[in-house]
Point group: C2
Chain length 337, copies 2
Amino acid sequence: MFEKEVAEAVKPTSFLRESDEIASSFSNSLRARFEKMIREAQDSVCSAIEALDGAGKFKEDVWSRPGGGGGISRVLQDGVVFEKAGVNVSVVYGIMPPDAYRAANPTGNGNLAPGPVSFFAAGISSVLHPRNPFAPTMHFNYRYFETDSPKDAPGAPRQWWFGGGTDLTPAYIFEDDVKHFHSIQKSACDKFNPDFYPRFKKWCDDYFYIKHRGERRGLGGIFFDDLNEYDQEMLLSFATECANSVVPSYIPIVERRKDTPFTDRHKAWQQLRRGRYVEFNLVYDRGTTFGLKTGGRIESILVSLPLTARWEYDHEPEQGSEEWKLLDACINPKEWL
Amino acid sequence: MFEKEVAEAVKPTSFLRESDEIASSFSNSLRARFEKMIREAQDSVCSAIEALDGAGKFKEDVWSRPGGGGGISRVLQDGVVFEKAGVNVSVVYGIMPPDAYRAANPTGNGNLAPGPVSFFAAGISSVLHPRNPFAPTMHFNYRYFETDSPKDAPGAPRQWWFGGGTDLTPAYIFEDDVKHFHSIQKSACDKFNPDFYPRFKKWCDDYFYIKHRGERRGLGGIFFDDLNEYDQEMLLSFATECANSVVPSYIPIVERRKDTPFTDRHKAWQQLRRGRYVEFNLVYDRGTTFGLKTGGRIESILVSLPLTARWEYDHEPEQGSEEWKLLDACINPKEWL
């Protein structure tokens, strides 16, 4: 369990523990560079959202934990274009159960059997829900994870890994939009490794699966987790490139769709799909369920939920309708490029 | 995992397996009598709801599973008084993991270590969501459970237990309403055992707890589970009495509140509380999470979710307001009688 967070009036330069900062290599440490990256990404995404919205402004909450770590939550609610937009960064120090350590290190020494392991995690996480049912919801999250050596095995290596992804959840399919989104994700991937896009696209389709519905929550993008089999510097650059790809992959789509006329039927369908979004996040999403169980900052965790959602009994879109086409693509994921 | 259910055009007299029905004591078996009781309760609750609504009608879906068991789902949606009302009965044959068997039999022979155990479960489950924010949501569920002897321990005793409860979830407190509701629950309990109401009232407050919020989803009622330390006949009568108390404890309240004028603020607060309802059901409710994981009939399980719900970032009602009073009673459960 985490300690209870406290509100901060002033934004610190870094949420790292002093022991991290004092380390001679501080300014070059991956922890410090990752925190800097996600805070810059938070600024640039929020600026782009506010510029597009025209009226809505982000409300900022800064918080910290007594033992180290903290975060900045930014939420824009009831804007002109965006119904609810959350962009959070956090830096977390915690204790990980032995099972989780082993899971993160499947090729490690099986005889190790360590006790609880201290970990460090920093990440940016965001969900953007526009009002217009033709403008898609988008989510992205990039995080960096490190464990300390287990206390009873001081010689054991530290573990580290990267995780994250960016994915699109429309209520209606505009092929141009989906192709645009996926092509920018692919470009970001291709700069680093030609295997990344196909691998992380499939991973995304597999991860955002609402098992009890037999459908995905949306039309995917890229997703990866526990990534440590590449060079650490390369993966930092890759995560940075992905974070920088959020605005160009998404903002032009909302720009195009934000004023499209719509009917009550379109709105009701968007609301039903938001119900599915809630189902995925509360039942399956690792970050959400982990955060709820370990005492993370609830309002930051649940800012991913839409402002409003809807559940109709046994709703089935008419075969061949635009609603049916979206559902079909959520059930049978497509190659968009 | 359950087999996939199939739709039935005709409602069978019983969903019990033929092997159950052929048993000489069929018409007197607890399985048969419990099924009859919940089907009668379904009829009487649905009639009362339709009469109160005046316009909305229940849509009925009958389903069965090839290996035995089935159910009747009834849903009224978009009525005049009720936004969404679901009343389901089901009869289920399944296989239970050994852990669950032991948990249900904590005083049993610890050396038994049985393999998977066949079980039988029958239940009625209902959630009623009115439109008017001053008319409360109500939930009730009564179920009967039996296990067969484990295959590798044919001499071991069958287990059985009863579970259920009835609880009220208003968005605003009218003390008269809450007292009326609890007093009818207490009367039902007191007919059987003076310990029942205090014990099951507390159990209800403990069960409907949204841990990550530190609050209950509503103002409680009664709840019990794994109940087998009383006479079986007495518990069948008690469950019947509880099911028969649903209409008198709830319908007069909705009758009184259904036409109360309300503002957008009242409606928004109701919607926020419905968001909490969704959080409880998807994250904590045993029946829901068990059903989603084992392949139960999804539309029947999720009919408990409200038609619409809302999540605002960091919403805190003004201290002393009517909204605050409700939240306070959800955080600090009260004795209403």
